[in-house]
């Protein structure tokens, strides 16, 4: 475990991620897809992610995509394809998508609006708000707001968290190392979450998740 002063390193890390992402985005915008192809693919995505991209509690929590950052969606679709992010179902979905289709899907879901999940234990939310806004300094956990935005709506490659289902957030944070950054030869943006993953306790994860679950 490398001892790093997060406060000094974080701004540089954020800058590095945003700059490299912007360059990447220009190179990878694919040719547009036909309306019919897109509609068929959207119906397929929405079977699991919901008619308004609001997510669903299926056999496991299926995340909300409505209002999500386009860059984040496209990054994740590539990560699934490259198996840097581990998910057998999403690998099947993602690896057949053309670059143009990825772009079109990301834009469509970004433009959708849906009410927040609003299904977690509400009494945990105030403690979650504190963690979101202030981090946990004694554990070197940065404030989530510093990358995800004060309104948790994300920025570029940093995903929107507002209104995301608590079940999905808890599962994602708890299992981060089993799911993300799975190709050691190709480390990706997911590494930036390491201080959070190692610093937050399970009760704190539940609190942050509950706060975000209700955020519009």
């Amino acid at each position: 475990m490398i001892a790093v002063n997060v406060k000094s390193v974080l701004p540089a890390a954020v800058l590095a991620v945003v700059v490299s992402a912007a360059a990447w985005a220009e190179d990878n915008a694919g040719p547009p897809v036909s309306g019919q192809e897109l509609q068929a693919k959207l119906q397929y995505c929405k079977t699991c992610h919901g008619v308004s991209g609001q997510g669903y509690s299926g056999a496991s929590p299926i995340p909300r995509l409505a209002g999500q950052q386009t860059e984040y969606i496209e990054n994740q679709l590539l990560a699934f394809t490259d198996k840097r992010r581990e998910n057998i179902y999403m690998f099947n979905v993602a690896h057949v998508l053309s670059p143009g289709m990825r772009t079109a899907l990301a834009k469509h879901f970004h433009d959708l609006n849906a009410p927040p999940s609003a299904s977690a234990s509400k009494e945990l939310a105030p403690a979650g708000k504190k963690i979101f806004e202030e981090g946990v300094p004694e554990k070197e956990v940065p404030a989530c707001a510093s990358c995800h935005g004060a309104d948790a709506k994300g920025n570029g490659p940093f995903p929107r968290l507002a209104g995301q289902s608590a079940g999905y957030i808890v599962r994602t944070l708890t299992n981060w190392d089993k799911i993300r950054g799975k190709d050691p030869a190709n480390p990706d943006n997911s590494a930036i979450m390491q201080p959070v993953i190692h610093g937050l306790t399970p009760p704190q994860i539940a609190e942050v998740a509950a706060y975000l679950d209700y955020l519009d």
């Binding site: 119906q43 397929y44 079977t47 669903y56 509690s57 056999a59 496991s60």
Partner: protein, 206 residues
């Protein structure tokens, strides 16, 4: 005299209503009592079902509730639903639906094992992976890796081959499900061969 007769009649009515409503002499639940009298004729004494009347044992409680109410409202409208279930479902109240859901979900379920064995492997592939090229989603994402269901999403592992096949075909033909989304649209994506394979696979899932 009239008062005595009236009183006796009222008492008789009240006592018979009470015994019908709550428990019978063997203290069976309301759900079991109702099922024994109304459901087991077609769905079987242990509610394991057969090709025409699906297995109810071990089904998700929320799903049972939603289906009974959608049969009552005529949303679920395939031919057998119309002929056989619309009548009985008319007598179901939300309270009865809840009791039946609780009872059925508590029962052990057996797999029908009546599919075409040679198609089970192919069916498992479609069930787990879908087909992204053909825009067929993985069934497992909602119904679970073992077909166990979740909440209002039905358990489909072990249901009869003929029943599952018929449901998927009928949605493809335009009959309605209790919810407009997503199953009818998913079923329309499936080819006849896909349906045959999926229904076969599921019939063997414990």
């Amino acid at each position: 005299m009239k008062l005595i007769r009236t009183t006796i009649a009222l008492l008789a009515l009240a006592s018979s209503a009470v015994s019908a409503m709550a428990f019978d002499r063997e203290h069976k639940s309301l759900g079991q009592t109702f099922a024994d009298t109304n459901c087991s004729w077609c769905h079987g004494p242990s509610l394991q079902g057969f090709t025409t009347a699906p297995r109810l044992a071990g089904q998700k409680a929320e799903y049972i509730q939603s289906q009974l109410l959608s049969l009552k409202s005529h949303k679920r409208d395939n031919p057998l639903a119309r002929q056989v279930m619309w009548g009985p479902a008319g007598t179901v109240t939300p309270e009865v639906a809840r009791e039946l859901g609780a009872y059925f979900s508590s029962l052990d379920a057996e797999a029908a094992n009546d599919g075409r064995r040679e198609l089970a492997g192919q069916g498992q592939g479609i069930y787990q992976n879908g087909s992204a090229g053909a825009n067929i989603p993985s069934c497992a994402v909602c119904h679970g890796p073992d077909g166990q269901g979740a909440g209002a999403i039905p358990r489909i592992g072990g249901l009869s081959y003929a029943y599952v096949k018929r449901q998927l075909e009928q949605w493809g033909q335009g009959y309605h499900a209790s919810a407009a989304f997503p199953m009818p649209a998913v079923a329309r994506q499936l080819s006849a061969a896909d349906i045959d394979a999926i229904a076969s696979y599921l019939s063997f899932v414990r």
